[in-house]
């Protein structure tokens, strides 16, 4: 395996220590795997808590900070944190205003979250949970539980976090976040595998002339391999399916996120964005906001996730609101 690491057993601890050094003005570590804001949010505002495995840097903890997350509970590489750490974070976040608890739909995360929520209920920790499951790889109409939570959690943190910062109530924030959750869809494409940094094994195989649409962010299979397509064709194919899933049509405004998986360059994402913009223009849909970059990575996998959401004035206002986190600063 060609990675700059030490003992694979200590990957998560070491990377979190480095993360805390790099961003000491913004975040601090609690009991090794809970990332908190260095300057906590006022107690009368709703807190945002999330959980997820490591190995996806900067996600998820890179979005802890003013205007986004308050607590991120980190597991191990690609593995959800256990329920004890999750309930610990919910206890830290406990406040009368309540907690929005954002969970990505992956088996381990959901199991941990459910067990933590059981305990939170026993301890009267006020919270509402929201499950992201915007992957349309199994079909836009597949049951929610079959649809994974992909990069869409990050704009959701952004929007819900801005509303929390603005002093909205837990019910209002939950309603807003749910609206965004229902407005969005994501599809991933992979070209080259990544190496699992703990096992050293490739997480999937693809032939030299193949790519796969619909792959998950741990190498879980998509709709099967297909021949390599140009940037323009890939963009049209994926965006076409996504626009259908979110039922966007002429006159609508969308947010578009192109999230690089690791080895796919920003150069490529810009080329794909250009194709998307042309596609949208032809359909009379407005590209109201966009982002190209690596927010939720899968080690050095080549590929990207395309996330589309239909937006209204309120969602756009919160999307553009200021924030300051290790991975995203908006003035």
């Amino acid at each position: 395996m060609k990675k700059f690491i030490n003992d694979p057993q200590h990957l998560t601890r070491e990377l979190l220590e480095g993360f805390a050094i790099a961003h000491k003005d913004l975040v601090t570590l609690r009991s090794e795997k809970i990332v908190c804001r260095a300057r906590p949010k006022a107690d009368d505002k709703v807190a945002l808590v999330t959980l997820g495995g490591a190995g996806h840097e900067p996600a998820l903890s890179g979005f802890v900070g003013e205007g986004m997350l308050d607590y991120s509970v980190v597991g191990d590489i690609f593995a959800a944190p256990g329920p004890p750490k999750v309930i610990e974070a919910l206890r830290l976040a406990k406040r009368p205003a309540g907690i929005l608890f954002v969970v990505l739909n992956h088996a381990g995360d959901v199991l941990s979250a459910n067990l933590a929520v059981e305990m939170a209920n026993q301890e009267n920790i006020r919270h509402q949970m929201i499950l992201t499951h915007e992957d349309i790889a199994p079909g836009a109409n597949a049951p929610a539980e079959d649809r994974r939570g992909l990069v869409g959690c990050i704009p959701l943190y952004k929007i819900a976090g801005a509303a929390a910062e603005a002093g909205k109530s837990l019910d209002e924030i939950h309603a807003l976040a749910s609206r965004f959750n229902n407005n969005m869809a994501t599809l991933a494409v992979a070209m080259k595998t990544a190496t699992h940094p703990a096992t050293g094994q490739a997480i999937f195989d693809l032939a030299d002339d193949e790519m796969e649409i619909g792959m998950g962010q741990h190498g879980e299979a998509g709709t099967g391999p297909c021949k390599l397509l140009s940037a323009d064709r890939t963009a049209e194919l994926m965006l076409g399916r996504l626009l259908e899933a979110v039922k966007a049509s002429q006159g609508d405004r969308v947010l578009l996120i192109l999230n690089g998986s690791g080895a796919t360059t920003l150069m490529e994402l810009y080329i794909v964005l250009r194709a998307c913009q042309r596609f949208l223009e032809a359909k009379g849909i407005t590209l109201a906001a966009s982002h190209c970059g690596e927010w939720l990575t899968v080690q050095e996998m080549a590929g990207f996730q395309m996330c589309v959401a239909t937006m209204d004035d309120e969602l756009l206002r919160y999307w553009h609101a200021p924030c300051q986190t290790p991975a995203l600063t908006v003035k």
């Binding site: 191990d76 256990g82 329920p83 381990g108 997480i203």
Partner: protein, 211 residues
């Protein structure tokens, strides 16, 4: 031949199960690479290390306390799907072991059953869904069906055999849970790694008992 199981036995059983997992963890990760994300061996190793270590850190603990410590240790080990499921199993076992110093065959079966019941609250997976349940449920059923007169060693051996058969059967199943459920027919021919782990654990339990 051991007739009844007490806390020291269970400590040795966990130890032996851990050894089995350690030997096979690379194979388990490879199995997971075919149907999931390739980390099941690493995770199981972490989980069983945590369980065995917790047990050995409570040398004077009774059965309930021992299983509870193991369960929480597994819960805390950041073990993806495996941690909460396996942790729940141990915690459920712990609940049924309350107030008991020793377990004969029917009591052992009841303890395992209670563990499975707790696990099922999280899992919702049924027989045939290509998960660890396909090894666990047959194992517990075998334990329940075992002739109490044969003693726990023989009963556990039958459970381990049932688990192994159950795990092997998962190769012909499509997945309804976990990361593998997205794969459709592509998982056919590959056994479920979680089920294989459970069969290794039961084999270890048996070995720990006779050791």
């Amino acid at each position: 031949m051991t007739d009844n199981i007490s806390a020291p036995h269970f400590r040795r059983m966990l130890e032996a199960a851990r050894t089995r997992i350690r030997e096979q963890h690379e194979t388990l990760s490879r199995l997971d690479a075919a149907v999931g994300d390739g980390d099941h061996g690493t995770t199981m190793l972490r989980a069983m290390d945590a369980a065995a270590q917790a047990a050995s850190q409570h040398p004077d603990a009774g059965l309930q306390q021992l299983l509870s410590a193991a369960g929480w240790a597994v819960m805390a080990c950041d073990g993806g799907s495996t941690g909460p499921l396996l942790g729940s199993w141990f915690l459920g076992m712990s609940e049924a072991a309350a107030g008991r110093a020793e377990l004969d065959v029917p009591a052992l079966a009841a303890v395992f059953e209670s563990g499975v019941a707790k696990l099922q609250k999280q899992s919702r997976a049924q027989i045939g869904d290509k998960t660890m349940m396909d090894a666990l449920l047959p194992a517990v059923a075998a334990l329940k069906a075992a002739d109490p007169g044969q003693g726990v060693t023989a009963a556990l051996a039958q459970a381990a055999e049932a688990a192994a058969r159950g795990a092997a059967d998962t190769a012909n199943m499509r997945a309804k849970f976990g990361r593998a459920r997205h794969l459709g027919d592509r998982v056919l021919g590959h056994p479920d790694p979680g089920a294989v782990s459970v069969s290794l654990i039961f084999r270890g339990f048996g070995e720990g008992l006779v050791a």
